[in-house]
Symmetry: C4
Subunit: 125 residues, 4 copies
């Protein structure tokens, strides 16, 4: 399949809840994800830059999505150049060398039950 999408996507609303329901396993742990589809036949080399309220941007975070693959990355699990702080407002710019499509999702399990939000990221190129 030919490559689909754009090479730069924006998510203004970043926030990883710092708590989760009791005994949450990984699926029900509070988390925030950017889901990437790379429908094309070339590997996607992706960089993420994080923006904050009161300090300079952090990045690039680097990851790869193989040809004809999807990968749902959790911001919680990013490690380099630094972990994403919890309970903190941030925003992200996601760039790729080939066209991709990006969707944003949060699962919030701070209360006894879970809440979900999702939106397509905004394509900027």
């Amino acid at each position: 399949m030919a490559a689909i999408g754009r090479t730069r996507w924006i998510i203004p609303e970043g926030f990883i809840p710092g708590r989760s329901m009791v005994n949450a396993d990984r699926p029900l742990l509070s988390h925030e994800a950017f889901c990437v589809l790379n429908a094309g036949d070339a590997e996607a080399h992706i960089t993420v830059t994080l923006f904050f309220t009161d300090r300079e941007p952090v990045g690039p975070y680097r990851m790869t999505v193989g040809a004809r693959r999807t990968h749902h990355f959790r911001f919680n699990e990013l490690e380099e150049p630094e972990k994403v702080p919890l309970d903190t407002d941030y925003a992200s710019v996601i760039e790729s060398n080939v066209p991709i499509v990006v969707q944003h999702t949060r699962l919030d399990s701070r209360a006894a039950d879970i809440a979900l939000l999702s939106t397509m990221a905004w394509p900027a190129d």
Copy 2:
């Protein structure tokens, strides 16, 4: 009414929760749907291709939406060429021979209550 929409739509964030609340009937069963509107006067012949994290794409899944009809398809209920695995990240590309509009929705009832997310799919043509 003239046909409305585009012929290729993308949903990067696929995930069907593998559990549901106790005694869930079909409406409250955890599920994920792509909702198609075919506003035009010709039948829409639709193919869906699913992408995964660690294997080649699966498809096409084939379905039809009549002229001037909507159909809300549950990924859970797709059967051919194979069922969609639960608790597994995937993404989808939805293609049609005529313009359609596609919206993505998930109902998650793994906890005692339900959570919902929805977003318009991303039009790629």
Copy 3:
């Protein structure tokens, strides 16, 4: 302010839950809404057409949004030409004589708590 938006908007995912939590007042009653902003200086004359899975479209429903006004219409409260059936999949096409912007929201209170979804409608003109 000059008129903002488009004159035709699409919401493929319509579904009004047929039940609500015990003692729900109007705000917490299960409902589905299309929220219209008419930022311009001319009254917006709006028509809504509903599409179903297994019968011909129903409409037009007619409503007006004054100049420089917003109105959040509940599908549940539409009356003419007929009420919108509960627990039934539908889709909607919303047309206006002047540019408007439309957002879709559902509140589902079938369980003990509430769930929300929202997305911008899809502009088709």
Copy 4:
């Protein structure tokens, strides 16, 4: 990084729930936010105009987002020219002198648990 986005964004669906769960701290208080990313190298001067169902628009509300910063503004916390009424339908137009990206989020904790919705705002320029 070069400026990213558009200079006018629309959110038709505004509604701040007037109640919250018992003992809610600020993060779990019912609220509605517009999240701004200003990825560029110039400060963003932003004005917000609110639209209502039955009276003239209110504004401008004024705020600033520094270069290379994100700010998640709560409508609940706007003060000038007047506070945003609770339990009241409204819509917003968000304008900036430089390109920005805007996402809309609501957290509703009127019930014992929380519900979330989010969507990208609609870019109007």
